[in-house]
Amino acid sequence: MKFGPREAIALTATTPDGKSELGDRLRSSADGVEGSSRAGWALIAATAREEWPGIAFGMLAGLLYTAGRVAVPLLIQLGLDRGVNDGEPLLPWSLAIVGAGLFSACFLGLRRYLAFRNARIIEARLRDRIFAHVQRLHFSFHDANATGELMSRGNTDLQHFQNFVTLVPLAFGNVLIVVMVTIIMLVLHPLLAVLALASLPFVNVLGRMFAQELNPAIMRVQQEAAELATVVEETVSGVRVVKGFGAEPVQASKLAAEAGDVHDAALVSSAIRARYLPAMELLPSIGLITVLGYGGHLVLDGELTIGELVSFNIYVLMLIQPLRMLGMIVANGQRASAAGVRIAEVLDTAPAIIDVGSPTALPDTGELGRVEFRDVDFGYHPAATGAGVLRALSLTIEPGESVALVGATGSGKSTVARLLPRFYEVDGGAIMIDGVDVREVGRRELRKAVSIVFEETFLFSSSIRDNIAFADPEVDLATVVRAAELAGADAFIRELPDGYDTEIGERGFSLSGGQRQRIAIARAILADPRVLVLDDATSAVDPAKEHEIRDALGEVMERRTTIVIAHRPATIALADRVVFLDEGQIIAEGTHDVLLATNARYREVLAADRDVADEGPV
């Protein structure tokens, strides 16, 4: 989806206010969005209320600007009639025009500044709120909402919102112009005014129809362009395959087809422009011709002065822009309210995992790190009946003990790991750490006590040092290095261009999957939790190097309760005890050797996971 450039021009190049023609002449940023909804307007109203002084000043500036602008044609008229025709002095009128011009110019700048300032403040504030709110929302919310979806809330939707808020004071000024000009014309000559203005409302109507028709067409162009981009992207990243099989002609014809589609879609949108834009230009001409024709005869009959004829002409021209823009603001408002609904949806989602009123502190003396699952039932989709992921699972892990959770895919072993730090709420039963129900513990404290290393490693775009020190940014380098050593990461970090200060992530150095996992382990170790959970945390580590981590982990695991989810027998063997899960229940417990010897299903699950035979010593 590429709204970007179009919107941008609406900001860079144009000014949604009266002066600049091109703002909406060739592109209308209006969006055909059906169904405005109350939640959206409510959010618009609420945010506008927060900024009311700015908005009020913006409107006042708009009023003064309009007054100055509307005065100019009147002054021209008086100058022409009294000065040029009647031979009175002209200078006062000229000076008055300069004065009115200066006045309106000053307030033009001020109005514009205030309009954008308000809108940008509201935008920034809402974006902060969305971000902070989403950060607090529970895992299941994030499971259900793709990152891309949420991005567009804090991004496209906010942009629509901001556009509308900018337009409000500008639109107010435009309404004023329409009202004042209409009044002046009616006072000057009612019948001529009616005739001159008759065609103008259609400008507004056409503007709206244009926006509604153009928008889907533009979306289609963007859609087709995105499809074309996919072909390019795939061909470039898969160039080895394309070249390897000599598949160039296939890709070339794919692209030619896509380019043809973009071409066709673009022509459709041009045809819409060609249909509406000239018509929207023609309508005011009808007004001008009427003014000249009927008005001219009125002048001949002595009922109208030449000056009045000219000011009518100028006033008709002056109305075109505001009318077009008012057509736009309706569509923009609809779009903003739809965006508002989507933003409100996120902001109104209450965090499901919250602290109880007065949290219980975890004990901090004695043997720490006792974990107990009591008859835990859990399913990711509470609504779905039947098969829960965990069913009446009970498990006790003693302080300092290390337990390996083994099971086939879908057996629930990762779920056990995710319930412990209370990323999800159990459906039944309870989970206790050192005798305290995790629901009674403050989240901060709980998550300090339990560190989990996810299978899918996420590292932030910052230095390696910052990544490892994530839990405690203030910590000194020696501690960071120590954590990296324990995770078997120190050696390769030192070989990187800037060692611990190497920037990683999107724009930085790219690490291998195994290296990333080791940094994630170091990050968890640095947090110094009483319970450490490793969820398949060494899966991407080269087996040849895994033994290094294994030795280091042995040391880490000795001192704290550890839950390891793993496939490789060597890693499983590190644990004091193996808990074998199947379909959400514990079906066997014991040491790895004993289970291997006595449990056929255990052997089966491990065999399916086992690395290829002659992979070197275990």
Binding site: M1, R6, A8, I9, L11, T12, T15, S20, R27, I76, G79, L80, N85, I97, G101, L108, G109, R112, Y113, R120, A124, R127, D128, A132, V134, R136, L137, H142, M151, A225, V232, V236, S237, G238, V242, Q251, A252, A256, G260, V262, A266, L267, S270, A274, P278, E281, S285, I286, I289, G293, G296, H297, F454, F470, P473, D542, K545, A608, V612, E615
Partner: protein
């Protein structure tokens, strides 16, 4: 994305006058095919501009010939003319838009296919050198900026320029004395416009950067939310984001401020010149030097003097960034192609030995990666290349596939030099199976068909069956028609490998180059990959870039590549007995220090 991406051209990207001229000439060169269309589009725009200028002149005629002289028929004649002009204006504008779109979009479509075809012709050396992201952005953001110009800017830009010139000429014609007076304001407006264009360009480049920053903070905060929560760092991350967000706000406001001083200047210039026209013009009327109609026409035309200036300064950035994009596209089209067919290239068929003689190679004239490599690989023989990373074993394999040409020496298939064989036919004889299976969007069947676009469904199934994995893919809910990019259908690394092997099976080459994966794929499918690979190797000449001794052990001969040379050559048994590099690796393996090279 939905951000307001401003138009801006960085100083480096901005073209000088000479550069702009070159781009223009080049565009006209390419545009030859569309010349007729382009000329008529411009013709229509000129006509439209003339109709816009005619309006105030007709008002003047109505006042001077009709109203001032009390002649109603002259007034009516002017009105009739006005009606004709309005209709002409409607029609010319309408067809100008259509014609310009027709020409512009056709140009763009051809530009897209031309650039892409050029990309496809490039050798692997080109792809090693250029970042994939940059190449993709040529075909996306650069072409898009042209598309945008054609869709939104070109009509306005051209007509604003025409209108400015036309209005200026007309005003001089109406009264050169008055026009000279009004031109006093022009330098101010021009300087302000130039400064505005520069400042706003700079401001929006900054905005663009800040937007990108905020966007990536947002992205990171969202994709990393689980880690943030796991370490209870929500408040810190929110505070950090707020900071980035504040920066964005500030740059936005800096950009707004630039508009806030510029627009009032243009507005005021309009009012001031109107005052001059009225005051001085009125005096000229009383002196009998000018008619009332002329003053009126003058005042009406003044508005189309400053508006175009303002429009031009605002559209200039769009035009400039499109020109910069076009320039980048042209330079892509100018890239020479390194690996091409010689005019005398012939097609090859059937099995032949591979003879490598005195081959040396360096990437882009740098350090030699290979030097004086000699090796002959017999028909149906399996040879493993082993050696440390960077020793040149992958490069040697790529030379055999003719992804590159050797710097010295020659590689022959039978007795024909690879460079004398048409690339097309070589690709059907020698197929490379890369380390990681790459999937295109589309179905599994379509992905396999990449190897032979004309293959029937049955042939695709047969290829899968031959390597023993037909059942695995058919077991999927939608079988071979499963769309690989859709959510929930993602194939594992091992399954991707299987697709990759199936492609090779469908291509059915006589020589197979296997680049073995360094890391293990998902344990569930690895055994299947192994057996598929074994089947695929049957009856073909195989070159395996081996990372595991288990693979090299299965080959007839092993070539140990170190520092760009083949340092050992022989069977597994012979090399272990010889006690060289390979024997060391073998010892390390059996003593259990690691299974890979």
């Amino acid at each position: 994305m939905g951000w307001s991406m401003a138009h801006g051209t960085t100083d480096e990207a901005r073209l000088g006058f000479a550069g702009t001229g070159a781009v223009l000439r080049r565009t006209f060169g390419y545009g030859r095919a569309y010349r007729g269309g382009a000329v008529s589009a411009v013709g229509l725009l000129v006509l439209w501009t003339l109709t816009l200028l005619a309006g105030p002149l007709l008002v003047r005629r109505a006042i001077d010939e009709g109203i001032a002289k009390g002649d109603g028929s002259q007034l009516n004649a002017s009105i009739a003319m006005y009606v004709v002009v309005a209709l002409a204006s409607y029609l010319s504008f309408r067809f100008a838009i259509l014609q310009l779109a027709k020409v512009g979009e056709a140009f763009l479509r051809d530009m897209r296919t031309r650039v892409f075809d050029k990309l496809l012709q490039q050798s692997m050396a080109f792809y090693d050198r250029e970042k994939a992201g940059v190449l993709v952005s040529r075909m996306t953001s650069d072409v898009d900026s042209l598309q945008e110009l054609i869709q939104f800017g070109l009509v306005m830009f051209t007509s604003a320029a025409l209108l400015l010139v036309g209005t200026t000429m007309l005003l001089f014609f109406l009264s050169w004395k008055l026009m000279l007076l009004c031109l006093v304001a022009m330098p101010v407006v021009t300087i302000a416009s130039v400064k505005f264009q520069r400042d706003s360009n700079r401001a929006y480049l900054l905005v663009r950067d800040r937007i990108a920053d905020t966007l990536s903070s947002l992205q990171e905060g969202l994709s990393g939310v689980r880690v943030v929560q796991a370490f209870a760092r929500e408040h810190i991350e929110s505070a950090r984001f707020a900071e980035a967000n504040r920066d964005l706000y500030r740059t936005h406001m800096a950009a707004v401020r630039i508009q806030c001083w510029y627009l009032p200047i243009v507005e005021f210039a309009g009012a001031a010149t109107t005052a001059v026209a009225l005051g001085v013009g009125g005096w000229m009327v009383s002196e009998g030097e000018m008619t009332v109609g002329t003053i009126v026409a003058f005042i009406l035309l003044l508005s189309s003097l400053f508006e175009p200036v303002q429009q031009l300064s605002q559209l200039f950035n769009m035009v400039q960034s499109a020109a910069a994009s076009l320039n980048k596209l042209f330079s892509l089209l100018d890239e020479p192609i390194l690996v091409t067919d010689r005019p005398s290239a012939i097609a090859v068929h059937g099995r032949a030995p591979i003879v490598i003689e005195g081959v040396g190679f360096s990437y882009g004239g740098g350090e030699p990666v290979l030097s004086n490599v000699n090796l002959e690989i017999g028909v149906g023989e399996r040879v493993a290349f082993v050696g440390p990373t960077g020793a040149g074993k992958s490069t040697l394999a790529k030379l055999i596939a003719r992804f590159y040409d050797p710097s010295v020496g020659s590689i022959c298939l039978g007795d024909i030099d690879l460079r004398d064989i048409s690339v097309r036919s070589l690709r059907t004889e020698i197929v490379v199976v890369p380390q990681e299976g790459y999937l295109f969007s589309g179905s599994i069947a379509e992905n396999i068909r990449v190897a032979r676009p004309d293959a029937s469904d049955d042939e695709v199934r047969e290829a899968l069956d031959r390597i023993g994995v037909l059942g695995k893919f058919e077991a999927l809910p939608t079988g071979l028609e499963t769309q690989v990019q859709e959510r929930g259908n993602r194939l594992s690394a091992g399954e991707k490998q299987l697709v990759s092997l199936a492609r090779a099976a469908l291509a059915d080459p006589s020589v197979l180059i296997l680049d073995e994966a360094t890391s293990s794929v998902d344990p569930g499918t690895e055994a299947m990959v192994e057996s598929a690979m074994e089947t695929l190797m049957q009856g073909r000449t195989v070159i395996a870039i081996a990372h595991r001794l288990s693979t090299s052990q299965r080959c007839d001969r092993i070539a140990v590549v170190a520092e760009g040379r083949v340092v050992e050559l022989g069977s597994h048994g012979e090399l272990v007995a010889a006690g060289g590099h390979y024997a060391d690796l073998y010892t390390a393996w059996v003593s259990g220090l690691g299974g890979r090279f």
